[in-house]
């Protein structure tokens, strides 16, 4: 709690913006009477009394699509973020704690995964899947986004492992998983939270990028899908600013606020992590 107070003002502003957008994504679809795919008016109606954010090329309400899109994007982001963080922490911990051959193999795999761009792997996966549900997309993104976390967690664990309290636990006969859960992971919590924020950020971006390419989730709106149609139907050159600006502004607001949250957490938590590194 003390650490929370030490956070700079920009953390609170960014967190509030993110939570506000998330709340719109949760409450909006429940409050909206129409679905994101319903044709409600003429094509490209500007924002006004009937439609707060206007309509798109088919006459679907941009506002209704927006709240559904936020929900889809956040759902995929959360699923992929959790999957990526858990996988990364698991693999990193295993490699860092075991060392030796397991370390060599797991880190070799991690390095290869880092070198091969994730977006290309996702693209190949996506064109292979005939229908892409939001859950499948979330799992796919999570399955390729763990290497960064794994690499960082591994180096942290490898240095934490050398500490005396870990030796004492080992000598007193604690099991491996108990040492990891009780002696090692608590030191990593601040780092894991930051890694999760970055994973969430990366996953929302990955979803938007895939959707922009036309490989988005089938049958639902997402922020990237909205941008895809906005570009495909030339709304930028047509000057229908409400169609393309809405997803652009919200993607940017979500990612910028997440990055601000992460960088403010970093300024508070990093000194301790640096001490951990120096002890190696």
């Amino acid at each position: 709690m003390k650490a929370l107070k030490a956070l700079p003002a920009r953390f609170h502003i960014a967190a509030a913006v993110f939570l506000l957008i998330a709340a719109a994504g949760v409450a909006g679809p429940l409050a909206a009477t129409a679905g994101p795919g319903d044709l409600l008016g003429g094509p490209f109606v500007p924002p006004g009394a009937d439609f707060l954010l206007g309509t798109d090329h088919l006459g679907r309400s941009v506002g209704v699509q927006l709240v559904h899109g936020i929900r889809t994007s956040l759902y995929i982001g959360l699923l992929a973020g959790v999957a990526g963080t858990v996988l990364g922490v698991l693999i990193g911990t295993l490699a860092g704690y075991r060392g030796g051959l397991a370390d060599e193999i797991l880190m070799g795999l991690t390095n290869i995964m880092i070198t091969v761009p994730a977006i290309i792997v996702l693209l190949l996966l996506s064109i292979s899947l005939d229908t892409r549900s939001v859950t499948v997309m979330g799992i796919c993104i999570g399955a390729v986004s763990w290497p960064w976390t794994a690499r960082a967690v591994r180096s942290q664990i490898a240095s934490l492992r050398q500490r005396e309290h870990v030796d004492i636990a080992r000598l007193s006969g604690s099991r491996t998983w108990r040492i990891i859960a009780v002696e090692l992971l608590p030191y990593m919590m601040s780092y894991i939270v930051m890694a999760f924020v970055i994973q969430l950020y990366g996953a929302i971006l990955a979803e938007a990028a895939l959707s922009l390419l036309g490989l988005g989730p089938s049958g639902t709106a997402s922020l990237g899908v909205m941008l895809h149609w906005a570009i495909a139907w030339e709304s930028i050159r047509g000057g229908q600013w409400w169609v393309f600006l809405t997803p652009t502004v919200f993607i940017t607001a979500i990612t910028f606020s997440l990055l601000l949250v992460q960088s403010s957490l970093d300024t508070v938590f990093n000194p301790r992590l640096r001490v951990g590194k120096a002890a190696r």
Partner: protein, 335 residues
């Protein structure tokens, strides 16, 4: 000698990564449930299922992958053809060769990305080093604006620039590689036209790269600023420009690794930027291929991007070994 060993061990890693990439590119579409080739053909034909098209698609696949053989010999066929630069023919622009289509698009992408990456790297690192040294208001504004530039996905900035500087304020053309009615040729008039179309996508990439590099350099240089050599130089009354130069050189090494690790994201993001501007490069080619389910083109583009990213990574690694004496020392075991 040690440098050679450093390069060779790196080469081994990249060979492994390349093999993995090649295998992914080949096997991924085939390992998923269902008969993948039927799915591919079914998807490719959705909407326009004339028997002539069906026959053409089928023959393309049979010829390209040797479908009557086992999976492993298909893989070998694929590798053999790829090594000869034969990527088959396009579905959507039959009978265009995929290799020719890529050859036409590639110069545009290179002209866009290479200057943006290099200039963005230099400017971004300088801005970051200066920000870390000056601190205070300048630092804060550089940090926040850089964070904004990197946080916003490439294509979002591109959308804003395109609308702001080409539609709302019609200073630049609204996209494409050249004006309607013009065609690519070696003439001064076409060059002027092409540069005016090139500028906005270039600017949008440049800004993003500057932002990313400035943040990395700043966080690196913040530690350098407190180093003894900076105090020492200051006590001698050296000009700021010189001290920032020292900081720049010390913070640069990790930044080169950073560049290597970021290349994949850079290239991927830059391809998406092309789509916004309908710039006639690899990104737009990929976008059109996905819309038309043109699988030979998609697979050739993904392979190309993978190779470029791996080669760029390798070159940066070699460069790193050349300029950082510590690597050579560490290889010899004299830390």
């Amino acid at each position: 000698m040690a440098l050679l060993r450093h390069i060779l061990s790196k080469l081994g890693w990249y060979a492994a990564a390349f093999a993995a990439a090649l295998a992914l590119n080949f096997f991924l579409p085939r390992l998923l449930p269902g008969n993948p080739v039927d799915t591919l053909i079914g998807q490719a034909l959705r909407g326009h299922a004339s028997s002539e098209t069906k026959q053409r698609v089928y023959e393309t696949y049979v010829a390209e992958f040797g479908l009557d053989q086992g999976l492993w010999s298909q893989f070998l066929t694929y590798i053999g053809k790829t090594l000869q630069g034969d990527f088959g023919t396009s579905f959507s622009r039959y009978p265009a060769e995929v290799a020719t289509m890529i050859g036409d698009a590639l110069p545009w992408t290179i002209a866009l990305q290479l200057p943006a990456v290099l200039l963005g790297w230099i400017i971004g690192n300088l801005v970051g080093a200066v920000a870390a040294y000056r601190r205070g208001g300048f630092d804060r504004s550089v940090y926040l604006s850089s964070l904004f530039l990197t946080a916003a996905p490439y294509y979002c900035l591109a959308v804003l620039l395109l609308y702001g500087l080409a539609v709302a304020l019609p200073l630049f053309p609204t996209g494409g590689g050249w004006s309607f009615g013009n065609s690519p040729e070696w003439s001064a008039m076409f060059a002027v036209d092409a540069v005016s179309h090139w500028f906005l996508p270039f600017l949008s990439l440049l800004l993003v790269f500057i932002g990313g590099q400035a943040i990395g350099m700043r966080s690196m240089a913040v530690y350098e600023v407190d180093a003894d050599y900076v105090r020492f130089a200051e006590s001698f009354g050296l000009p700021d420009r010189k001290i920032v130069g020292y900081i720049f050189r010390n913070g640069m090494l990790p930044q080169i690794t950073g560049l290597a690790l970021a290349i994949g994201t850079l290239v991927g993001g830059a391809l998406l930027t092309e789509i916004v501007f309908s710039y006639p490069g690899i990104g737009t080619l990929l976008y059109d291929a996905i819309l038309n389910k043109d699988y030979p083109v998609i697979q050739a583009v993904t392979l190309l991007v993978l190779i470029v990213v791996l080669v760029a990574n390798f070159l940066v690694d070699v460069l790193y070994g050349l300029i950082d004496p510590r690597i050579r020392a560490a290889e010899r075991g004299e830390r």
